[in-house]
Symmetry: D2
Subunit: 304 residues, 4 copies
């Protein structure tokens, strides 16, 4: 498979069409991004790398970070994690309080905001400095020590995070948060404010394509069984209320962020990251989904 | 992989434990089934067959039939089908009217009751005798002309189908049903009353493992692209409000029915059917899920 | 209090403004009504009568009939009635299935569609010919033997009553309907198709202003205690999801219908009926509410 | 009417039966109250006073205070108040976030927690020291300068108010709170922690029975029109999801608090306060409702 040729062609077609949608604006810092940015990076387990466009430019990974935090928490706590968060698709918009109230403070899955806050709370029980522990993990897996949090974005999230504050207070009222709310929110906001490039993301997510082994050292970071389960959660829950549609169109486990990034993995084969900031009404990158749909169609790489 | 040995072992362990749960009772005919029944049938694309227990005994496939009807409708109508039914997991119990009202008569996906009725309505636009067309399709793919509807079950469904009548009337009020309601319901009830064995189901679902090709003649029945998308829908929507959990535990696309049957497929490799009538509170076979979880763990055949 | 003078003035002002809103169209027969129709009739317990406009023209009373049927059922069954229907405001649009499913087939109150169907079902246990029993009751209380059902409207309701069919099937699935669904729906549709004038309505609702006594013979038809409770239900539930607003603005128990009629009662003093077919988005007569708000303000007759 | 005799008799009967239900425990301070406390105080506009039991003992008025704050805010802001809070019954439990999210941050009415916080926010725009302004108002109307906030209860509310924090953050995310959240919550918690006796409450609520006039000086504090509207809101919204039932049984506008107090008014006639701390599952005083139901039955004082 000549991935470079396929990617050039698909990207070329997509860039030839006018970009639709809008960049996220609820976090002011994100609203400043050029909507025409576009990058792709694909890494195969056999060592091949393919780049296109602004593939090394940093952007706010936002909810993509939820997969990484989940990986740490599942590795540390094992099956007991599922007493505090479910593995079912949410079926409602990503920040809805309705289902959370109905299900008495247990988030439907760890890839929606409420679930990710529970994951933060879990990690805080294991680390004195969870912000450092988290970025150390990301730097280790990505093999890139330069990765960092964007301070301005983190502050911007804090100043506008009233819905997230509502979510965490509601969970606290049901007893599903143990650490001080302010500290959990701070960890959560910084985690969302992680900045990475498509190249760094693709490298990092080889962990998920490669059955839990470190992309470079090939040491086991997390068991095959656990990594398969995380991939399964990405498949059913990775795109908020558009998860079924992404599965239907792209046929790979993946995760999106409101910064316009998407990562997807073909277990046993490759990881791929794409970045384009314009979002559809469900909060997912329009060109990102389009690109991945074409990619799996052209390369016949849907897992189904 | 010695599937027979693995299956014997897993099934032996499962049968050594007391059966939990209850058989479905809302349809009186289903309530008469012996809760200890247990059968397995696995077919590989390479021609291998493995059987265990009551693998050739007929049972009511119930919602498993929804996948077969969807296949016919998607083949006939193509992408226009998705104007009338979605591809998102439902996030609420399988017969809930709440989401259907909220989304103005468009069912979330074709594998919940409301969605399956829309599929029936679609098929009725193409066939004068949809009941005959449906069973002809099943007999053709399964290669077994003896397959039939169970008349007593079909009548039993009609007599107790008030929730389904509520669903179809609600969809009609939003304009999403075109044929006479009584006739759509009749088709739907007969479809659910289809009787098949694990062996027949495994044979039939080679279609989905085998990229849309007839299990015997290898002629294309439906395109690779379409069959992958149906597998994707099974993955995210095949187990009502337990779809995420099945994906998490088993890692294969599949579909359950309240008759206690489950089919799952490993694309490119095999199809497998299991039958055990005792259901958990979400309406899925307890031993069936347990068996498939062990099977994919032992054979490392999760698609993730 | 010179009611005639007050009513002339208020009605004059209202008619001087352009009529807003739209007549109900979901029942085709109702869509044919001239939107400029306007009638008022007020009757005091002391025998005074005041008329304005088309006060003797017949119109479709629609949901106003629910109060009359409730009165019969409460009188017959007593407190046991509340095992099958509640007395709480609905808090959701008038034909919503959501709350009905959540509350397992027990309608919130007898003045929403689902509740009124339960009332129909109750009456059918007492009468061989409930349609005759119902109209006999209305003719007796109103003192007008010419009152009748409009056959064209009743047929029109039947042909478009899919939401009502959804509601009754849902209640049946929870066991809260005992008689054949077709017959209950037929009774319900005819009841809604009752035709009365403002004059007839005002006369009839003296029953509610007059503590349960027949407006002409003064014999007790229903106990003081029961009639006060029916007035209380009108106060909290008479205007669907606008009941709080009507109570806030008008301050009298009342009931509206999508035919554009409203009746209200001032216990111990008077009953009043107003008719203007243009409805707001909540299904209540715009001019009707406006008129009554002005009337209670001018005459200081709010019960609060 | 010999109120003393009637009240003695009803209270005697109620006290002869074993008290059911439980005192509120979600605020630890309230959980310490003796469940057998019982007091009644009735004041007529003509100057009569009737007391029974612990009618002069202070208790936590909790949500009853919402009526007093609403009165101040409606008086200050007029009709513009209804742009920020509705007048419809809530139809869901008193602290539900579901409806608030669905209706985009506009509380259904000012007598549920979310609505009362909006009222607090409104008052903070008018007063530098809203806590002082509020208690000054209460002291003035009640004619009792000794009335105060219970500091321990206020602190207890703050420490356990996670649901209220969720509510206010959600409203803030929709832009319906203007002042700093901590300060609004503080005002709200102190307001709930107001301590009054049945005697003080009955005296204060003569304002509502007496058409807006000061109980002692008879000066107009709020217009007749506004006080009638506040009574109307109490009628439809005063008892959370039991408002319809209270209206049905008692037939007077009223307001309950989880401290076990209830006040009710018969416009033009009397105000009455009753206190008994044991609550039903909807959070309203069991004996309090029972007492008022008997009182209006015996004295025929339902407004309907």
């Amino acid at each position: 498979m000549n991935y470079q040729q396929v990617i050039n062609q698909i990207a070329g077609e997509i860039l030839s069409e006018k970009v639709e949608g809008n960049v996220a604006t609820y976090i002011p810092e994100l609203g400043k991004i050029d909507p025409n940015k576009f990058g792709v990076y694909l890494r195969t387990l056999s060592g091949e790398s393919v780049a296109f466009g602004e593939s090394e430019e940093l952007f706010s990974v936002q909810s993509i970070s939820k997969v990484l935090a989940l990986t740490m928490a599942f590795n540390l706590l094992g099956e007991k994690l599922w007493e505090r968060v479910g593995v079912e698709p949410s079926g409602t918009p990503f920040n809805s309080l309705i289902q959370l109230e109905y299900e008495r403070g247990i988030p439907r899955n760890p890839l929606i905001n409420s679930g990710a806050m529970v994951i933060c709370d879990v990690l805080m029980d294991f680390y004195d400095d969870p912000l450092k522990a988290f970025i150390d993990f990301v730097r280790d897996v990505s093999g890139d020590a330069s990765i960092h949090y964007n301070e301005a974005v983190a502050q911007s999230e804090k100043a506008h995070g009233f819905r997230n504050a509502a979510l965490i207070n509601l969970m606290k009222s049901f007893g599903n948060i143990r650490n001080p709310l302010d500290e959990v929110l701070k960890f959560y906001f910084y985690q969302c404010a992680l900045e990475m490039s498509c190249k760094q993301l693709a490298q990092t997510f080889l962990l998920y394509a490669g059955h839990g082994k470190h992309p470079v050292t090939h040491q086991e970071i997390i068991s095959v069984s656990k990594i398969k389960r995380i991939n399964a959660i990405m498949q059913t829950c990775g795109f908020y209320d558009e998860s079924g549609d992404f599965t239907f169109k792209v046929g790979l486990p993946g995760k999106s962020g409101v910064g316009g990034g998407i990562v997807a993995v073909h277990p046993g084969h490759f990881s791929v990251a794409v970045w384009s900031p314009c979002l559809n009404e469900k909060g997912n990158s329009i060109r990102g989904i389009k690109f991945l749909e074409e990619l799996t169609t052209e390369t016949k790489s849907s897992i189904f």
